[in-house]
């Protein structure tokens, strides 16, 4: 069935763009569509066709520096056809002499940030891009240093240059700018927010991120997969397990290895535990931001219960060091199953009570409802993913749309709300905790004894593969390309935060300044994951 769908998509692509496609090949559920060098203008056309014809959502775009092997840069645009469990990867070479390509973002705004990142890190210019400002690079970064090119050494010392932030100015009577950050009052990560306000209502918000850029992708180049795995756990601390799962998934697909059933179930168990503790924490923080102290205390207590369970099961509250290539490192004895069930049943019972308390409190509901509305159209247009998308009416969940591990065997619902306000985003989280508890229940009854790891003998050279999973924040997609020795040549991390930060700009429009922290918390995006 899958094969025929793949063939149908490939046939359609060949039919439409036959003359411009150099190579078309399929591997797992990935279709690679290589465009000819001379037909650069066709890149946006193929991309928009895939996007519109199959209702494929844009996943991510990145470039690779293949000047040594093929004397070219290469662009990669990934699309996900959810209904058919397919990924289409449109690739196009960019000549190293010209450093430019036809912008896809000009036709499909969801590629906006991705192309700006390519522009900053590779120096390839997307022609016709609607808003080609700096994204990754801070103003003091020299304009001719392109960090992701292969000839840019990790050790190089980059001279700082004079520069100013380009913020759009809003002028008018009574319009003020409020700069917030990059250092904030709470124990959170750095990011600069520039509000233009007229009194309390927010007219415009601009965000400057990338204060926590660690060069993660560059750092992994040339590393063996075993070493890069540890880096992948540290992309975003709260998604440790999801990121390392996506990484392992990519390596395992690269090597053509199927991990044992028990390992698959264990990975699912830990993914759901990660989702539960993060959702509980978010529910607490949202409630804290409306100063409903009792609700906050209860949510944080429940989160602590789950984190203690994590520690008891795995030795790590944050589920670190569990994933390994080919499976997981640590098995669970059957005797703990009942404890997992008991703890989670308790969480479920108490969360039901807490939710009842919140939804029946007029003062809480007044703060949550109609605050920070993200419309369905905006959500679709700018390519919002994860919790935020499901709260605005988009029915997408990587666990169901691209079933991996053993999610196919599990019965679960994907909660979708249509109002797109803070309340909807909180509701999605509460519902997902209940679903995750049901999923874990099914995992524990389906899991059977067996090995938890297979050895991966050899990682093929010059190969590439996608790995993906649904982290608690949204889908995480990682792409790995290997070099001649089977080491990592290019590692692309797609974090849901990277897609969702622009959502904040739209969601705060027309809201008042004191509601911003609440709206921000309802998205709870990772700075570290976004900046990488």
């Amino acid at each position: 069935m899958v094969v025929s769908q793949t063939d149908a998509v490939m046939a359609e692509l060949r039919h439409q763009f036959g003359g411009h496609i150099a190579e078309l090949k399929a591997q797992h559920n990935e279709i690679y569509c290589d465009l000819n060098a001379q037909n650069l203008d066709w890149l946006p056309k193929v991309c928009t066709y895939v996007h519109l014809h199959w209702h494929a959502s844009f996943v991510c775009a990145w470039a690779t520096d293949e000047r040594e092997q093929f004397k070219t840069f290469r662009l990669n645009y990934i699309f996900s056809i959810d209904a058919q469990d397919l990924f289409v990867i449109v690739r196009a070479p960019v000549s190293p002499e010209q450093h430019q390509f036809a912008s896809v973002a000009a036709h499909m705004i969801s590629a906006n940030w991705a192309e700006r990142e390519i522009h900053d890190t590779f120096g390839l210019k997307p022609l016709g891009h609607p808003n080609l400002k700096r994204l990754w690079a801070q103003p003091d970064w020299p304009p001719n240093a392109f960090a992701m090119r292969k000839d840019f050494s990790l050790q190089s010392h980059v001279p700082r240059v004079e520069g100013v932030f380009e913020f759009r100015q809003v002028e008018g009577e009574g319009v003020f700018e409020i700069p917030v950050g990059p250092v904030h009052a709470g124990i959170i990560e750095p990011g600069h927010f520039r509000f233009s306000v007229a009194g309390e209502p927010i007219i415009n918000l601009q965000i400057q991120l990338y204060y926590t850029h660690k060069g993660t992708e560059k750092l992994c180049e040339g590393l063996s997969a075993e070493k890069a795995l540890h880096v992948s756990e540290r992309i975003s601390g709260d998604s440790t397990f999801a990121h390392s799962t996506a990484f392992c998934h990519a390596i395992e697909r690269l090597a053509g290895v199927e991990i044992p059933g028990r390992a698959q179930f264990l990975r699912m168990l830990f993914l759901e535990l990660e989702r539960i503790y993060n959702h509980l924490s978010d529910i607490g923080m949202i409630v804290n931001d409306v100063s409903f102290l009792v609700g906050y205390a209860h949510a944080m207590r429940l989160r602590e219960d789950v984190m203690k369970l994590n520690e008891k099961l795995t030795g790590s509250r944050l589920l670190r060091g569990l994933n390994t290539l080919g499976g997981v490192r640590r098995d669970l004895p059957e005797t703990v199953y009942s404890e997992v069930r008991d703890t989670l049943q308790n969480v479920r019972r108490e969360l039901e009570e807490l939710a009842e308390l919140l939804w029946s409190s007029a003062s809480v509901m007044d703060r949550l409802e109609t605050t920070g509305v993200l419309t369905e159209k905006t959500t679709k247009d700018i390519g919002i993913v994860g919790i935020a998308a499901r709260a605005s009416g988009l029915d997408r969940d990587c666990r169901r749309d691209h079933p991996h591990l053993r999610y196919r065997q599990i019965d679960f619902k994907v909660p979708v709300y249509t109002t797109g306000d803070v309340y909807a985003r909180t509701r999605v989280r509460v519902d997902e905790v209940f679903e995750s508890i049901l999923i874990i229940d099914q995992i524990l009854s389906q899991i059977s004894a067996g090995p938890i790891r297979v050895l991966i003998e050899k990682i093929p050279a010059n190969a590439h593969a996608l790995g993906y999973t649904e982290g608690w924040r949204g889908p995480i997609v990682q792409t790995i390309q290997t070099d001649n020795e089977g080491k990592i040549f290019r590692y692309k991390i797609d974090e849901p935060s990277f897609h969702n930060w622009p959502a904040l700009i739209f969601a705060v429009q027309g809201n008042i300044v004191p509601d911003f922290p609440l709206i921000n918390k309802s998205f709870n995006l990772s700075y570290s994951g976004n900046d990488r």
Partner: protein, 331 residues
């Protein structure tokens, strides 16, 4: 009034002032403790506000070089204005030490003076948050003040005086005090309670414990303060809380307050005990409200304060329709 009684009164008044100064942080500590208890937390020690004050008093003061004298004077103005109010209200005896210079209206103006300088100081350092706090504080003050005046006037017309000393004495009079109590008092009490929550930056209006600068009102204005300046402002904030609780206690439930006519040691001791009990109960009530409601959206705060204003207005109108006193109302 003979000299002996006057001397006794002065002594009692001074002790009231010292008590007012020293008990205020404890009230803040108790409010935090009750809130922690309601959240299943253990909470900091009751004495934590004192530890904070002594720490801040010892610490170095950091002042932005962009500030003017207003920034440096404001903590003293706020502190002394609040302390002066402590001499204008009956605490556990109905004797008001500075009663001869002003009544309840003077209190409202002293509060306004402190607020005015606080808001200026918020603007003085030219930080974005201070400006936000000041603008919010002043726009809310425009509604808080009339609501407060109306609520207190309701009681004042009942007692026939704007002197708090007289009000407390008349209301606590064992023979006729109960007669003065009217249904309008209930409305006025709720009105003044809401004003107290707003004036002291408590939860439905402001959150004294938040770290989110964008949502702050009072805390945003004092973000730039440090060291002894911060200590004075926080101490004044504690005193303000105690001040409003004292007003609530002594205007609406003055029973047990020691009379200033012939102060006796027993009467004063009893007055002190009952006063502390009333403050304990009222503080717990404030903490309870803080734990059971979420903070209002900023634009809803005027709605709440309007409710307070309207309640006070109803209270006043009720007084003129029903006449003062429970006995009149019942007849």
């Amino acid at each position: 009034m003979d000299l002996k009684i006057l001397g006794m009164n002065v002594l009692v008044a001074l002790s009231q002032l010292v008590l007012f100064l020293l008990v205020a942080p404890l009230v803040t500590g108790w409010a935090r403790r009750v809130k922690a208890f309601m959240q299943n937390r253990r909470g900091p020690s009751l004495w934590q506000p004192y530890f904070n004050l002594t720490k801040q008093l010892r610490k170095e003061v950091v002042v932005s070089e962009n500030t003017s004298w207003i920034f440096r004077f404001t903590p003293y103005i706020v502190f002394t204005a609040t302390l002066a109010i402590g001499l204008l209200i009956p605490i556990y005896t109905s004797f008001v030490p500075l009663g001869f210079i002003g009544d309840v209206i003077a209190i409202i103006y002293l509060l306004a003076l402190a607020r005015f300088f606080m808001a200026l100081a918020g603007l003085d350092a030219a930080s974005a948050f201070g400006g936000l706090g000041s603008s919010r504080e002043m726009s809310l003050a425009a509604i808080i003040e009339p609501a407060m005046i109306l609520a207190i006037f309701t009681v004042a017309v009942t007692a026939g005086s704007t002197s708090l000393s007289t009000i407390a004495e008349k209301m606590s009079d064992k023979l006729n005090g109960w007669d003065l109590l009217a249904p309008s008092h209930l409305f006025a009490f709720i009105g003044l309670f809401i004003v107290a929550l707003a004036e002291t930056g408590r939860i439905p209006v402001d959150n004294p414990a938040t770290h989110l600068e964008l949502t702050m009102i009072h805390e945003a204005m004092i973000l730039e303060y440090s060291g002894r300046y911060l200590a004075l402002i926080e101490w004044a904030a504690s005193m303000k809380l105690l001040l409003f609780l004292t007003l609530l206690a002594n205007i609406f439930f003055p029973w047990g307050i020691a009379a200033s006519e012939q102060p006796t040691f027993d009467g004063v001791a009893l007055g002190l005990g009952i006063y502390l009990l009333k403050i304990l109960i009222l503080t717990t009530l404030v903490a309870f409200v803080e734990c059971t409601t979420a903070k209002l959206r900023l634009f809803r705060v005027p709605d709440l304060l309007t409710v307070s204003f309207v309640l006070s207005l109803i209270a006043l109108v009720l007084y003129f329709i029903l006449g003062g006193g429970a006995s009149h109302a019942l007849l």
